[in-house]
Amino acid sequence: MSERRIDAVAKATGIAKYSADIVLEGMAYAAATRSAYPSAVIESIDTSEAEKLEGVIGVFTAKDLPGGNLYGRRVMDVPILVADRVRWLGDRVAAVVATTREIAEKAAELVQVTYKELPAVTNADDAIAPNPVVIHEAPWDYKGAVAKPEMGPNIQALEIHGSKEKAEQALSKAAHTIEATYYTPGDHQGYIEPQACVVDYKQDGSLRIWATNKSPYRLREQIGLVFGLDPKRIEIMPVVLGGDFGGKGAPGEVPLCTALSILTKRPIKMALRYNEDLLATDGRHASKIKVKLGIDKEGHFVGGTFEALLDGGAYAGFKPVPTVNLHGIVDAAIAYRMPEFYVESKIVYTNNQPKGHMRAPGSPQAAFAFESALDELGKKSGLGPIKIREMNLLDDGEVNAYGDKWLEYRGKQVLALATNQPKEVEVPKGWLYGEGIAIYARSMPAVPKTSLRLTMQEDGKVVVEVPIPENGAGGQTVVREMIRTGLGIESDKIEVRQVSTSSLPTDAGVGGSRVSLGVTVAVANAIKAWKERPAGTNSVEVTTNEESDGPSGAYCAQLARVAVDPETGQLKVLEIISAVDVAEIVNEKAHQMQIDGGAVMGFGFAVMEDLLEDDARVWAQSMGEFKLPNMADLPKLTTVLLRGGKGVGPNNIKSVGELANCGTGAAIANAVTDATGVRIRRLPIKAEAIYSGMREGNN
């Protein structure tokens, strides 16, 4: 399938409509006054100066809210406007509505708040130290909470797999063990489109919302819950998403703007400046992971412990799953045969930015820790990085550490592919050269709920209405291609139309590597329904309700080739080779961009991205300080596809969206050790850390 993507022309000519492009008649603009302290009690709020500014329509605080004040994706602990106690610098304490965005922003700065400062918890360790500052008195009381009083204070979620006792017993008999602690920083999804929304509440109780949100049906449900509105009266309108990577799943400013639209009886628009987006949205959890791994004489795993402490920030409400946890942490050993494995994934409240989901939640952190530790063990035991992985990668028919038997395991094959590519990169003269490998495996998601409608118009055109937001991954193009091949209709006779939540019954939202799977199932069902439709009907509507084949999953092996300047510690990643386990590919170009984009994101996480969180502040206050990889920074990207796998669904596919960004950190860190002998256990990898390591003989 090589026809151009469905949205290409609209995006290349600038006519595609994003949330910030929406303008409604009579629309006013909102801006928030955010907390001046990471931890404080509000003593008083004086809005008079802000109200005096010409163009200000109203200034509102918690006491004005027309509905509930708490929202969240699962745990409802996030206040729309704080009434009493602020818990981080992004907390909203007041909101301004004005005739222009600039006036609203200026007025928001004029709101005078007096605070009584409280001690702040600035890192995850302090949150669980004896007698910590308690951030939420009774977090277990929040709707959707998984925290329990017996877990102690400041716990957002605690997920445990396996038995620590058994794992330690197994480790005590190991021939070789490694024990080390690894650190990763808070990160931002780095989408280029800052979060924005337009909310229009009508006096008849109906609500229309345009928002940078990838889960329209979930958003509808959440807003209904907070404001006591019938979700059927809430319509989430279709807009194009300017990047997501997990960051566009939370309600963002929609709850606030809903309140403001109800209060002012106007459509309300709020668009974050990127600086505010960096401060006040929900990025990737900073992690501290203590790993202990052991092998027997031959090199087989005997067991391991994996204790992760994650900084969840001020609220738990940005994580969408029922466990309120990051399954990437729990799944740390999924690629391997691992007899006794204990995982503890503890997410704590602090006064930092609350964290949510970012591309493969938990996995980049877990893979960095696990695959680095495995390399250290390979070195210590003398097996080396390849042999120790070969010894332990699962073979077909085996059961993984979580009790699942996948349809197939192709870790050994991708490992061989990644390590057998010719070396064509040039090493700068005098620099040290090294290679590092990392494996990442990911289980296939369940078939997500989605729906679509297929209608034949009188002119012979087929209109496919879909509920999936287009976040760039190309889901709508996949729909068209499947209809084209399935029904034998030319592309120009097919129109794929993203519709509002009022037009179709359901969708699970974009994310979790499930779009292609959900779409292929839904479209296959629609094609079947279309072919079997009763005579005289020109429209069919289907909803997915399938069990997944499997369990199954996919492997990705990454090899990093690096060079290090021995005089400075400067690291140049020369090449990232991604060997990827695939079945059928629905759209080759989109598939390749998921791998390239993933590897570049993994590269960024490894060597530069960092919110610079310290002292309960985000010091990366603009994109000038929060660095994302640019075209000149890039290593050579090489992809090797291991085709012919056993996929799932009607199109026999394996997910790819969250495969190539996870192992990259460890692959690069392992390559640095190979080049210099220096072991880096903290991301991002800084030239200075390598330099100091070389000077101190750290290895």
Binding site: R4, R5, D7, A8, V9, A10, K11, A12, T13, G14, I15, A16, K17, Y18, A20, D21, Q189, G190, Y191, I192, E193, P194, V240, L241, G242, G243, D244, F245, A271, R273, Y274, N275, E470, N471, G472, A473, G474, K589, A590, Q592, M593, I595, D596, G597, G598, A599, V600, M601, S622, M623, G624, L628, N630, M631, A632, D633, L634, L637
Partner: protein
């Protein structure tokens, strides 16, 4: 204040606060292809072309556009269809939010000396993309330069 300039090949007169940012003024003219990204001149999503050179419209005071020749993606789509075509053919985009800026940067690439692929990368490095991994964007720019 009245500001006169050439916008997408046609003379334009606008009445605007001269200290407003060009990005906001242009978008208010319903030319919303110019996108706001970082807001600090780093990401390139708001790139426009002024007198043949790439400019960050988010940090460009509109009063400074008096008498100058300004192009946005809407105008470039008509003026340089082969450039647009190369981005479409190569799928030099995913979410598309950076795409108009990438295209505007590419449209102004003749303002600098390009003699190698490294030169292209250095020039295009000012336009961030979080989706594609840049390979398809680089291909699009190279294909465009090959025919121009």
């Amino acid at each position: 204040m009245k500001i006169n300039f050439t916008l997408n090949g046609k003379s334009a007169e606008i009445d605007a606060d001269p200290m407003a940012m060009a990005l906001d003024v242009i978008r208010d003219l319903d030319l919303t292809g110019t996108k706001e990204g970082c807001g600090v001149g780093v990401c390139g999503a708001c790139t426009i072309m002024v007198d043949g050179e790439p400019v960050s419209s988010c940090i460009c005071v509109v009063g400074t556009l008096q008498d100058r020749e300004v192009w946005t993606v809407e105008g470039i789509s008509e003026k340089m269809p082969d450039l647009i075509e190369k981005f479409i053919d190569n799928e030099g985009m995913q979410c598309g939010i950076c795409t108009p800026g990438q295209i505007m940067a590419a449209a102004a690439i003749s303002s600098v000396d390009i003699t190698s692929e490294e030169d292209i990368k250095k020039y295009m490095a000012g336009n961030l993309c979080r989706c594609t991994g840049y390979q398809t964007i680089l291909n699009a720019v190279e294909d465009y330069l090959a025919i121009n």
